[in-house]
Symmetry: C2
Subunit: 343 residues, 2 copies
DNA sequence: ATTTTCGATGATAGCGCAATCATATCGGCG
DNA sequence: CGCCGATATGATTGCGCTATCATCGAAAAT
């Protein structure tokens, strides 16, 4: 007889227990169950325990879809990165998710590749989930993307790049500065005839631009540039460096990623070139295998974990106090030239 | 005067355009706008165009939170992997997301580490989003996890492991078989005195068990085992191999991941041991850098992309026809011993 | 001409939850 | 003793959308 008062569940119902079911079992109002679960400090100890028991008894799993609609808080953060098949971004994903999940947020991951068009498409569907915050890789967005982000008025952190004019918050580093620093480093080592192998991606190109401007500051106007598609890979590095070495007398090759540099290293070894004696090689990223190659790869270390962590912190702060305006906050985490055995 | 009939938006409203706003601008009923956007084949061409214009004019972004609540379809798939900071799982994430996003699904990523407890916690919050499908790494789940998954009645694919008794669908390979195959391979090469360095993770332990059983089949009962914590890293490999080599005369060391093997390789080189002459080394995973090490690392290739792709395909099929029962479907994608220069 | 069919559109009613305000209870205090 | 404020709980309403059924006009069938 204990369900004699129940209306039959509508045909649209999902079948699993709802808040009202828990409430009936616990002998309280639905609202009290909601509070017991979300704001336990507002209910008495005894009620909280009764609700807890009722939850176990009914096997209730809260429906956060409904909760999000009712409260306009999704507890969801969108994280948009080009790829996870690259240890640097994987590290960012790992740390961002660690920091956010400890605060009860879940992550909606979007892989946007390296083109603004993909970013635009993915952002649209992401915004339709009404995330409470967004972490976005890069600062170069399409006009539509910028407009949508502004209209959404959602806390936002751009990462992995640098600009004076962020959409909201920014945690990253200057790719141009990286390029210039690499140029200075290699010039100080005495290298003069440079090859460059770069991925066809806007941030890699910025680093190349910085590198070239560094060369020009030293009066060097000549260099050989080859572009490769994404994703970068060892074979790309081998192929392009073979092309470069066949046609030009070079004493150093600079790569837009460690994996390309490893390919160059293979090519050099297959040609019997001593490294760095006859050919110096420079990578980017300081991936876990950079130190493991033989000879150990000189590279540029980017602290992806720091970027992810600070980005998450900034976002959490803003999501906790949405009124406190701190737009325009910019953090440059820098980088470090790691001088191993290939330069 | 054109808003004279509007009720003021309630204080709970979010401020952005809703379906009814688009409907008013387009001069149709809200339901027609919903259809024009989600089932365009059900509305006339002219209505569809008017709605399209109204959407642009209002800057409407659909609210899929509300849509999901109303339709009981979230268009969300939960993807639970131990970590993305490991190229094998990154590859899975990459391919699963590629396949799902092309069909309009978004991915809720969960990083569950290597313990059933974490999986349990994360699964609970994941289920509260009412995903349309779940991809779960591994087949060993806590009782509560199994119970919740069964109660949720959501299409599910377990990956990266093998069992006769999957919860629903399964795409993976047998870790024990990997271990046995590695044992046979090394035994056929003549190695007899083995060290094992394994991560403290249940699937790695299965591979160890398979390896040991392979040794025992050959009448070898002695071997040296060291466990390391997660995440595996080169320093762990170096440290544990140093310990092993100090105390035991070994002619081969088997590792539960390529990154550990690379550490072992460094240690061997630092001791002036020839590889594989004085010490053979075996990795697992065939990470991108395995072929790049010097000497190139012998390892076990797992086709993470194939696993991700097939898992996504199975899931899409089931989500499209939820009535068509195919529970119990199991796909073994196998593995391959990659015999490079360290064995 | 009348009925049937079908495509297109609209009206209504929830989906499951939390914001909000109303109500009840209780001890402390003038 | 009655009033006040704090604390605990409940009733109501609506978040924005889609399932469902009703309606309506026009073409097709009788």
């Amino acid at each position: 007889m204990d369900d004699s008062g129940d209306k039959p569940r509508s045909s649209r119902s999902t079948g699993s227990a709802r808040l009202t079911d828990v409430a009936r079992v616990a002998g309280v109002a639905p609202m009290t169950v909601s509070r017991a679960l979300n704001r336990p400090e507002l209910v008495s100890e005894s009620t909280r325990l009764r609700v807890q028991r009722a939850v176990l008894e009914t096997g209730y799993v809260p429906n956060r879809v409904a909760g999000a609609l009712a409260s306009s808080r999704s507890r969801l953060v969108a994280l948009l990165v080009p790829t996870v098949a690259h240890s640097l971004f994987a590290e960012v994903v790992q740390t961002v998710m660690g920091a956010l999940s400890s605060q009860g947020y879940q992550v909606l991951l979007g892989l946007v590749g390296y083109t603004p068009e993909q970013e635009e498409t993915i952002l649209e569907t992401v915004l339709s989930r009404r995330p409470d915050g967004i972490v976005l890789t890069g600062c170069r967005h399409s006009a539509l993307t910028r407009q949508r982000l502004k209209a959404a008025e959602v806390p936002l952190v751009e990462i992995w790049d640098m600009t004076d004019d962020p959409l909201d918050m920014l945690v990253g580093f200057s790719h141009e500065a990286v390029g210039r620093a690499v140029a200075e480093h290699l010039l100080s080592r005495g290298y003069r005839r440079f090859g460059i192998i770069s991925a066809d991606d806007s941030r890699a190109k910025l680093r190349v631009a910085g590198f070239v401007s560094g060369l020009e500051s030293a009066g060097i106007g000549e260099y050989q540039l080859r572009e490769v598609g994404t994703p970068s890979s060892m074979p790309w590095g081998r192929e392009k460096s073979a092309e470069l070495l066949d046609r030009h007398a070079l004493d150093a090759i600079v790569c837009s990623s460690d994996i390309l540099a490893l390919g160059v290293l293979s090519e050099a070894q297959s040609r019997g070139l001593t490294v760095p004696g006859q050919l110096a090689i420079m990578g980017f990223g300081d991936s876990s295998y950079a130190a493991a190659s033989f000879p150990a790869l000189s590279t540029v270390r980017i602290d992806g974990a720091a970027i992810g962590l600070r980005a998450a912190e900034h976002l959490l702060q803003r999501m906790a106090q949405p009124t406190f305006e701190r737009a325009g906050q910019v953090l440059d985490v820098g980088f470090e030239i790691v001088d191993r055995d290939t330069t």
